[in-house]
Symmetry: C2
Subunit: 410 residues, 2 copies
């Protein structure tokens, strides 16, 4: 019998976790983080076995590895519920063109944009793709992300779409099938491409992915096409998500509510009726402020959504074109400075609510007994430095499944 | 005789430096970076002795330490020409209040703001202050900053102002005397405080600092007060700088031009006439987009300034209240996404032009023979990742004075 794997993080200045309300958190529950000062967290077999103030720490039988938490604070491992991290190459050239004045849609129309990454990703081969994803996963881990979702959508052919989903699963991520990301040049139009996707790719994609996603936008897929794609995916057992209201209000929010989607993501241009619709629904609004910043676009109406009672999550949108950014701490900084969310709201939005979007809120996104032992130790006694220290070296140590997965000083 | 200290950085994917035009760079010269591909840089006795393509690298006599530059690109060590890095404590509590809706000016009026940091800095003692500055200096170094300016202005009494200037000099920074930052409570009003500053602090401050700075703003110092302070400082041999047009156009730009100041900094609300005045002057416009982001304020008119022919520099404004951010790479990202500067313009603005503001453009801010051997090695073959990889781990190794001062993998 192998010994019990135990890790004790002791003498933490504070341990902070979202309110113990049922996920997804909404309204005032979003800002009611629970704080324990001078605290410990005991991990056992990858789960959190106990936590509390140091003076409640009793004797521990058997061997235990210790981490000195003095001067540090602990928050739940961050959950990035919207990334496109499985890509090859980069688009730094487009970044420079955009800085010099070109718009995202102009670049896309000129043959850049998503299809440029599709070419690089198809050319990378499965091993090249896995190597790129591993590099991106390491970046995410160093930024405190212990659970990540990643979408396909840079293959747009059968083999590469499936290769993306396999690569994400092998890297420990949550795979989302985004076959309907863009129409590749070998298909006549969006409808013909959907015929192909649903007949040739969906059957196997459904066995690899947990959810399906679609880019509902002018120039990509319209409401009727998105409905057709998503209904077929739901039929095949996938949870549903949508990219919506990034550039135009093209009907993503009503469709998300109609279909009972897990989430609708982006929402930079969502107006009052969309906000009201989401607030009255079970659909989580996933906001991506790093993407809005990167493109110089308006920020999503986060304050209005929260105040109306919508469930809100935050994510990076990490991708090579519109958000070359894997940092949820940066997203939290933007949430507090651009979206007018409080640090507590930002924390809940990229932990427990993000875990809810991924169907994992029962074991991810909180520091609580029985949850997965995923923790971020921050290099500050006040955990709010994670948002306050803009682009700073605030993540000190990352614990995943009860083991130290990365440490700045290592 | 001790051996010659030599460091060879070899096999770099590229070496990039601003155009070899006389500093400060303006107009098209700002976007004309010089790039050498497959390159080396040889450092000798703290200076750059040679650089060029690898096939021009001859035999090197004597001992030489080597750094493997494969997969990396090199840019000049970054120069942060506007920081308030010499402070104790933090203001994370205010950050949270502001996220919940309070304005910067409201927090200041309520006894928070600058005076909160003054209390912490006075209480820290000279050793405590030095320790805090050392921590901040390490953060800056890890972000690629090899030369930094830091201001006093959190003492506002004789002993603490002078202690700040000494601490900055001892930490290797460029000290700026910002006695006229705010009026401390022990003085009746701004005029009485200036009487004190000029009689009791200036004589010794002038021997410790290189420049003087003033916060010309509603609620701080007006034009007449700023003129009085700056003229006395100029008389005492200090270069002149101003905080201006952050919240209101209160006359800082005309005063800067009138007095021949090195720089006027902030400019978030500068209008067309201020832009024209700066473009026709020798005053450098120092832009601080991280501060504008942090406060949710408008961005300065960078594009208009550059297009009009003004000399523009970028800096962090690193301070605990309005920009808890020491990262010039983040500032470059904001420059490209929010200020519509190209990566080349952003690079020149926080290297050679920033060095000009600090009176060091003859030896800092370029990778060129005879310049100080300050280099940042970036973890990407294309140097533009420094701006493109938003808040990412892009700084791989920092070389200062011909020695490796920090390395991610060390």
């Amino acid at each position: 019998m192998s010994p019990v794997r135990r890790l004790l993080v002791r003498d933490l200045a504070s341990v902070v976790s979202p309110a113990r309300t049922r996920a997804p958190l909404r309204g005032v529950a979003l800002r009611e983080a629970e704080v324990i000062e001078r605290a410990f967290v005991l991990c056992e077999e990858g789960r959190i076995a106990a936590l509390g103030p140091m003076d409640a720490l009793g004797a521990i039988a058997g061997e235990v590895e210790e981490v000195d938490g003095r001067g540090l604070s602990a928050i739940p491992g961050l959950v990035d519920c919207h990334t496109h991290a499985c890509f090859a190459g980069d688009r730094v050239h487009e970044f420079a063109l955009r800085a010099a004045g070109a718009s995202y849609e102009e670049l896309h129309a000129a043959g850049g944009g998503i299809l440029a990454t599709v070419r690089a990703t198809r050319a990378a081969g499965e091993e090249g793709l896995a190597a790129a994803l591993e590099r991106h996963r390491r970046w995410m881990l160093q930024a405190g992300t212990t659970t990540f979702e990643a979408k396909s959508g840079y293959g747009l052919d059968r083999d590469t779409e499936l290769a993306q989903l396999r690569a994400v699963a092998r890297a420990g991520g949550v795979p989302t099938w985004l076959g309907a990301h863009a129409v590749p040049p070998e298909h006549a139009d969006a409808d013909a491409y959907l015929d192909f996707l649903l007949a040739e790719v969906l059957p196997e994609a459904a066995s690899l992915a947990e959810a399906a996603d679609v880019f509902l936008e002018r120039g990509a897929f319209d409401v009727a096409q998105a409905r057709r794609y998503l209904e077929a995916c739901r039929e095949a057992g996938l949870a549903l998500r949508l990219h919506g209201d990034q550039f135009t209000e093209a009907g993503a929010v009503p469709l998300a509510v109609e279909l009972g989607a897990r989430s609708v993501d982006h929402l930079e241009v969502t107006g009052a009726s969309g906000v009201a619709l989401l607030a009255a629904s079970d659909v989580t609004a996933v906001l991506l402020p790093a993407s809005a910043l990167f493109l110089g676009r308006p920020m999503p109406p986060a304050r209005a959504l929260v105040d109306a009672g919508a469930a809100v999550a935050l994510a990076t949108d990490f991708n090579p074109g519109s958000a070359f950014c894997e940092s949820l701490p940066l997203v939290m900084s933007l949430a507090c400075t651009q979206l007018r969310l409080t640090p507590e709201e930002a924390l809940a939005a990229c932990t427990v609510n993000a875990a809810h979007v991924l169907g994992r809120a029962d074991r991810k996104g909180r520091i609580a007994r029985g949850y997965d032992a995923d923790l971020v130790l921050l290099a500050a006694e006040d955990w709010r430095h994670v948002a306050y220290h803009l682009a700073g070296p605030v993540v000190e140590t990352v614990i995943r499944g009860g083991e130290v997965a990365w440490s700045r000083s290592a």
